[in-house]
Symmetry: C2
Subunit: 366 residues, 2 copies
């Protein structure tokens, strides 16, 4: 039973590691880090608490940014809108929040709740709703647990706010998405309020401390004369899928999402091969000219800088960048029929039968 | 000081007259009439009260449908969603509503509040926010009075609901519009909650009783051997602009609106002339091949059946229909600079300098 403090000393590690788990999405780590850092400087460190410690009936209110990450790079949150969304939901529920939580693992969406926690002197639960990032509201393991995304509060930096109550989580996505577009492409939300017991049963546990460990291992790999990419793979049971140079990126903001495709030419061991990455905020499918599908949603696909091991989000992919692409197994919760209905390749219109990354790697290595 | 009862006997007159003032928009009178009729049958008649009688600090909550009228013809409200929107706003404001009110004059939006009033045993204030119908939320004289469209409650027939708070009425329009689209093209709203004193100062007074008188005069014109169109012109200080046959209707649902253009070939005195009507839910500009602009927003333009004098909404315009087009002066509130900024031809992207219909008619008749 350990409790960890999130401080200005280790916030970088959280942001970096969460970006690795964010599989290209989940928002820009730099902006998220700045927000959290500023809040910690002002209000003090944040306690990261074990989900097993949260009382059964305690109220946990996750806080998140919703929108196209491409927009968030330019539309930096003021900070007040995240608090407004959180507090409006808390008031509506008429119960004091015991803690906040990340709804997804990602550079911005793991750090927004840290900023909220610092400002409101609340602990952060070491868990999230995906164990990675996904583009749509209903795409959390909580949906499979029957937990409603609403009441959901939405706020922007201008002072606009909405309160949403829906009959299912898909409608919550629909209303929140169009609202985010009218708010300039992104907004802050309070959503999926849940109890301590529900966190334990339906969320992905220990993902924030995993993010910290991943970030720390990338930062310290050099000192330990270790390859930073190998360090990440050790912590996540992952695989290196490809090493190469980005030769093309097609990217557009469509329906409130950053949608696109990146093409990589192989280097070193991958010389002569080509990799295609498809993304909608997050990387969804990695395909290789020689071996076909290397990994697909809901397994995690992340692009790392070849030299530093730092994760690169989809909106930062750029021509000429030398990168290594890794794949990591998702939570077993996503590999159920219900999970694949929510976030499998078919949902995103790819005619791919999902195969766990372990199976695909065994086939390639046979 | 007269008070009138709205009953199943005179509801038709209200619906017909409001549709005349609806200038082609404001929703289908048949659906609205059915809703109100059913509510009156179930709960009893509704008292139409003089706005001068409402106490200064009494709370008046207008109730309305928002969306594309073309959709409303097929997506008939259940009735419960209008009540849900009204009561959610009342609860939020923490004050019992004294009365409800129409936000615009129109076949559906003058009768929805009648249904709400009947179901909740509330009176209806003899006033509205436009004196006609307009397509967007901020287009009410109340906006010029500094009255906020929010808090606004939105509800659909499936059980989804939203609560909106915005920094201005244009944002209220933006969020409500995209929400209406996600709700299938239309939704019910509670909006522009205001005091009795504000009604008197900023709303258009006596428009419901005017609607009743217009409807009654059309219905009884035959008995009085009067031309029904002339009867309407007498009550509204209006002008007959054109008599003809509809030869073309271009109509599309775009951005949540019914947008289009109708072309008429002249008959009788108008033989040899052609009329073009542009609309966005409501008729906005009437142009004649001989005389140019005959009338434009914010003045009222309405299409009436040549024989019966019944108003025809834009979604019912059809090839071959013989019609008479009338124009009526709008409220002086709309003819101010501030009013024209909100609803003048320029707002709708027509490069027309607004001229009052009286001026245009004088020029033509000179």
């Amino acid at each position: 039973m350990t409790t960890m403090k999130i401080t200005t000393d280790n916030i970088d590690d959280f942001a970096t590691g969460a970006t690795v788990l964010g599989t290209g999405g989940g928002g820009d780590p730099y902006i998220g880090k700045l927000m959290a850092e500023q809040a910690i400087e002002e209000h003090g460190p944040v306690e990261l608490i074990d989900p097993r410690e949260v009382p059964d009936d305690a109220l946990v209110i996750p806080s998140a940014m919703l929108g196209a990450p491409t927009v968030m790079v330019e539309k930096i949150p003021r900070g007040t809108e995240a608090l407004a969304a959180f507090e409006s939901l808390e008031t509506h529920l008429g119960q004091e929040a015991y803690a906040t939580m990340s709804i997804e693992a990602g550079g911005l969406n793991s750090t927004v709740p840290i900023a909220v926690a610092a400002a409101l002197d609340l602990p952060l639960v070491d868990a999230d709703g995906m164990g990675r990032a996904f583009p749509e509201v209903q795409m959390v393991t909580l949906t499979m647990g029957g937990i409603s995304a609403t009441p959901m509060s939405i706020a922007d930096e201008k002072g606009n706010s909405l309160f949403v109550d829906t009959v299912d989580n898909e409608y919550a996505e629909a209303f929140a998405r169009v609202t985010s577009i009218e708010m300039g492409g992104a907004c802050m939300i309070g959503t999926y309020a849940l109890s301590g017991a529900e966190v334990r049963e339906h969320a992905i546990l220990d993902s924030m401390s995993l993010a910290h460990d991943i970030g720390e291992s990338i930062r310290t790999a050099k000192d330990r004369s270790q390859d930073p990419v190998e360090a990440v793979l050790d912590l996540t049971d992952g695989y290196e899928l490809f090493e190469g140079k980005i030769v093309d990126v097609q990217r557009r903001t469509e329906g409130g999402f950053a949608v696109g495709e990146a093409t990589l030419e192989g280097l070193a061991d991958c010389d002569g091969r080509q990799l295609t990455l498809n993304f909608q905020n997050e990387h969804l499918v990695a395909r290789d000219s020689e071996n076909g599908v290397l990994a697909s949603t809901p397994d995690l696909i992340t692009v790392l800088d070849s030299e530093t091991g730092d994760p690169i989000t989809t909106e930062r992919l750029a021509y000429g960048h030398r990168v290594r692409v890794i794949g990591m197994p998702c939570s077993p919760k996503w590999r159920t029929d219900e999970g694949l209905d929510l976030v499998g390749p078919e949902y995103f219109n790819y005619s791919i039968d999902y195969e766990p990354i372990e199976t695909l790697q065994n086939q390639i290595n046979d």
